[in-house]
Symmetry: D2
Subunit: 284 residues, 4 copies
Amino acid sequence: MHKTTLLIHCKDQPNIIALVTNFIALNHGNIIYIDQHVDREQNIFFMRLECEFNSSSFSIDKFKMLFKNALVDKFGFKWRMYAADKMPKMALFVSKYDHCLYDILGRYNSGELHLEIPFILSNHKDLKPIADSFKIPFYHVPVTKDTKHQAELKQLELLEAHNIDFIVLARYMQIISSLLIDKYPNKIINIHHSFLPAFVGAKPYHSAYKRGVKIIGATSHYITEELDAGPIIEQDVAHITHAHSIKDLITKGRDLEKIVLSNAIKLHANRKVMAFNNKTIIFY
Amino acid sequence: MHKTTLLIHCKDQPNIIALVTNFIALNHGNIIYIDQHVDREQNIFFMRLECEFNSSSFSIDKFKMLFKNALVDKFGFKWRMYAADKMPKMALFVSKYDHCLYDILGRYNSGELHLEIPFILSNHKDLKPIADSFKIPFYHVPVTKDTKHQAELKQLELLEAHNIDFIVLARYMQIISSLLIDKYPNKIINIHHSFLPAFVGAKPYHSAYKRGVKIIGATSHYITEELDAGPIIEQDVAHITHAHSIKDLITKGRDLEKIVLSNAIKLHANRKVMAFNNKTIIFY
Amino acid sequence: MHKTTLLIHCKDQPNIIALVTNFIALNHGNIIYIDQHVDREQNIFFMRLECEFNSSSFSIDKFKMLFKNALVDKFGFKWRMYAADKMPKMALFVSKYDHCLYDILGRYNSGELHLEIPFILSNHKDLKPIADSFKIPFYHVPVTKDTKHQAELKQLELLEAHNIDFIVLARYMQIISSLLIDKYPNKIINIHHSFLPAFVGAKPYHSAYKRGVKIIGATSHYITEELDAGPIIEQDVAHITHAHSIKDLITKGRDLEKIVLSNAIKLHANRKVMAFNNKTIIFY
Amino acid sequence: MHKTTLLIHCKDQPNIIALVTNFIALNHGNIIYIDQHVDREQNIFFMRLECEFNSSSFSIDKFKMLFKNALVDKFGFKWRMYAADKMPKMALFVSKYDHCLYDILGRYNSGELHLEIPFILSNHKDLKPIADSFKIPFYHVPVTKDTKHQAELKQLELLEAHNIDFIVLARYMQIISSLLIDKYPNKIINIHHSFLPAFVGAKPYHSAYKRGVKIIGATSHYITEELDAGPIIEQDVAHITHAHSIKDLITKGRDLEKIVLSNAIKLHANRKVMAFNNKTIIFY
C-alpha cells in the first residue's frame, strides 16, 4: 500500500476537484482524505488530499510525471506531492532554555512525531547533555557579532549535508538572516512568547506585565525578513491575574510555548500547512 | 445561482469522491466545499458537499432525480440534498428559564441564524411577553401527569401544521416521549447542563458541587429514548473553584448553556451534522 | 444584618491586616471575606474586605467616621466603603449594535446583576424598541461633529440627574472626551473587539483577518484619554481558522464581546475592581 | 527573614481572622498573604496565611508552641504550619508511560518545582534510563498478584527511609491499597485520564470515543479507598472532533495529563491545597 499526500494551490476555476479526483481514480488510487479552501479575496483555490495505491508496481515518481503532464501545466497548479511514509528531516536550533527541547525530544522518543532529527545545533554548549541523553548529534556553532556570517555558513553546510527539510527554532536566541530564510522559505518555524501581533520583539512577558493584560500567549510562525511578522501557524493563550509576577508569567508561558511549538511542528511535518501571502491555510 | 448542499453516507468503497464530483461536473455544477470522513471501525463513508449551478434552467428536483438514478441505488447511498437558500423551520420549546430564549431570539433578530421560527411553545405562560416582543406566535400547551398524552398530540398537530423541520428544547422541563422522538429522529435538540456523560438527569449543578469538580459544562445533543444519552453535537466547559456556590454554578452555567445550544442550532440549521450510530459527524 | 464592603490601598507597611481586622472586631463586625495584594514594584498594599454587623443600631456613616478617625489618616489609606445592599446605578450607552444590549438586559431581568439601570442613552434611535420592551427609559442624544460638545453637556446633565455611579459603553461608537472621563475616572467601561494591545482602534476584526491570527479576542477596560489604552478589566479569546471570513470573525466575536463586557460589569458593580497606575487589581 | 505558611480550618465563628492576624502582629510577624473560605453548608472556616519574621532569634518550633497555647485549643483549630523554605519530599511512582515523568523532571531540573525527589519507584525497569539521566535514584519493585502485599511493604519501607511527604502516581498502573492510603491520607496524588466523574476506571479514552464526546479531559485527585472518587485537585479539557481516533485521543490526552498533574503537584508542594470532606479548597 502506497500512501501519498498531495497539496495544490492555483487560481480558482471550476471543476478542479472533479479533475483531480478523477485523475486519481483513473490511476487506480483511492482518496482517503480531501479538504479544500477558497480564498475569495485573492481568488485562490487550495486543496490537500491523501490517496492510497494498492498496486505493487506503483511508483511515486512515475505518478508525479503523469500528474504533471495531465494537469499541472494546463491548470497552473503550484503543487507538492509526498510519499506519506517518508519522514521529513528536522534540524533543531536551541540556545540555553531547555523546556521546548525536552518537550520535543520526549514526544520524538515516544513516537508521537512523524519526522527525523538528524541533529541539534546551538550557539551554546549548555544543552549538549540533553542531546546526548537522547542520542542525537549536537553541533556547537558559537555566534558573535563578528563571526555571525561565518556561523551561518557553517549552519548552511550542516543543513545541506544532512538533507534537512525544515528548521525549528526552539527558543534559539539569535536573529536568523536572509541567508537561511531565502534557502528555507516557510520552512523555519519559530516560537514567540506572546500572542502576536501584540508584544513583538524582546521581553514580551515584561511588556505584558506592564500593560496589565489578563491573558498571555504564545505564537508559532514561519520566519520571514520582518521580525515576528511571518505567517502564523498556531497560537494559544492562558489567563493570568494581577497576582502573577513577571517570573510567574515566564513559568506559565513555558507551558504555552512548548505545546504551541510542538503542535506547529506536527502540522508542518504532517504536511498540513500551506503558506500563502503571509498567512497559513491549515488542513487539520 | 443555485447553491445546493449534499450529505451522503454509505459503506466505504473506492472512488466515491471521484464519482460524485464527476457527476456534478457533468451536470455543470461547481463544487465550492467538500469534506469527508471514514469511520474505520464501522467501515462507513460520510461526505458533505456544497455546489453551485449557474444555469437559469437548473431545478433541484430534476437534479435529485438524476443523482438518484445515476448513483444512489448503485452505490447504496443514504443521502439528503437541500437548496441552500431554503431555510429550515425550527420550533422552540421552553418552560420558565429565559436565558436560552433571549440568546436565540437575539441572534435570530440580528440575522445570525439561517432558519425560521414559526412558533414558540411552552407548558407555562411566563415567557409569552418575550415571544410577543419578538413578534413570534406563542402557544401555551400545559402538561400535567394526566394530560401528557393529549398535550403531545396537540404538539404534534402544531409541528405538522407549521411544517416544522426540527425542534429545540431551550430548557424545556418535560421529558419528551417516543411519540415525538419517532417522528423527529435526530431532529430534537436538547441542552443538558453538564458535560455528559457526567451528571445525567436532574440537578447536575448540585451533583457537580457535591463531587467538587473544578470544571462544569454543558452539552447539546439529539434526544433519544434513553435520557441524556443521545448523539452529542456540542460541548463546552468553564473552570470553577471551591469558592463557587451552587447558585454561582447555575449563573456561570447559563452562559455555557446559551452558547452551546446556539452553536448546536447553527450546526444543525446549516446541515453540518450527520448522526450515525449514536454519535455525530460534524463538518465545520 | 448590615453587610459592608471595604476597599483600601496604601503604601505597604507592617500589620495593616491586623490593624484593620482588629478594628472591625472591636466594632462588633465579623469579617466574611478578605483578600489582599502587594505590588512589590510600587510597594503598594491593596485589600478588599467584606464584613457583617448584627447590631440593629449599626450606621455605616458612623462606622465610616470611626474608621477614618482611627486609621485612615494615621496610615495614609485611600479607601472606599459601601453598604453591600446599596446597588450602584449604571448608565448604558449604545449605538446600533444590539448584541451586548440584549445580553446585559437579559441578565438584568433575571436578577443576575447587582445594579440599577436608570436609563439607556444612544446617538441613534434604532435600539429604542429594545429599551421599551424592558421598560427602561431611553434618551436619544444625537452626536454630529458640530454638536459633540453640546451632546456631552446633555449627557453629563442626565448622568448627574440620575446619580449615575458608572457608565457602560456597550458598543457605543463615539469617542468619549475628557469632559466625561474626568468626571468618571475609572468609571467608564468600554468593550473593545480585540485582545488588546493587539489591534487598537477601528476595525480590529479586519486587521486580525489580514494578519492571519489563529485567535481573536475581546477586551473590557476603563476609558482613559489614550484610545484603547486604559486599565484592562477582563479579556477572553476564541480560536479561529483560515476558513473564517471577516464576517465569521464578527459573528464569533459578538459572543466574546457580550460575555467579556458582562463579566466586567459584574466585577465593577460588585466592587471587586481596584484600578491603580493603569492596571487593575481584581479580587474574585 | 523567616517565611512561614499557616493553614487552619475550624468551626466557623466570629473574629478568627482578627485573632490570628493580631497574634502574628504581637509576635512581630508581618502577613504577606491571606486568603480564607467559609463552607456555608458545613459551617467550616478555612484560612491560608503567609507571614514573615525578621528577628534573627525566630524559631518556628517556639512559634508553633505559642500559637498552640494561645489559640489552637481555645478555638478548636485543625492546623499545619510550615517553614516556607523547607521543601517537601516527593516520591514518584511510574510504570511504563514516560510523558508525565519527562514533564515533571524537566520542570524539576529547571527549578520550577519547590520540592525534592529522593527517588523514583516503578513496577517495571523500562524508565530507569530516564531516572539515570536526571541522576535520581530508581527502585524497581515488581508487583504480581501474589507479591502485591510484599511489594507494598517494600514501598512503605522506602517511603519511610526517605522521609517522604507525599507520593505522585505519574501513570502508575497499579491499584494502591489501604496500607499506603492510610499512612498518606490526602498525600497520594493520582492523574486520571478523563474529566471525572465521567469515565471512571480503565480505558477512559476508549469510553470517550465510544460515547462520542466532543471534549476529553484529565483529572488530578487524591487517592482514596474508592476508585477515582477522591478529592479533585485540578482538571482540564481539550476539544476533539469525530475525526479523532482513539489513538489521537491518547496522544492529545497526554498533554492534558502532564499539565494537570504538574499543576496539582505545584499546588500541593506549595501548601495551597486543603482537603475536607472529599473536596479540596485551593488557595491560588
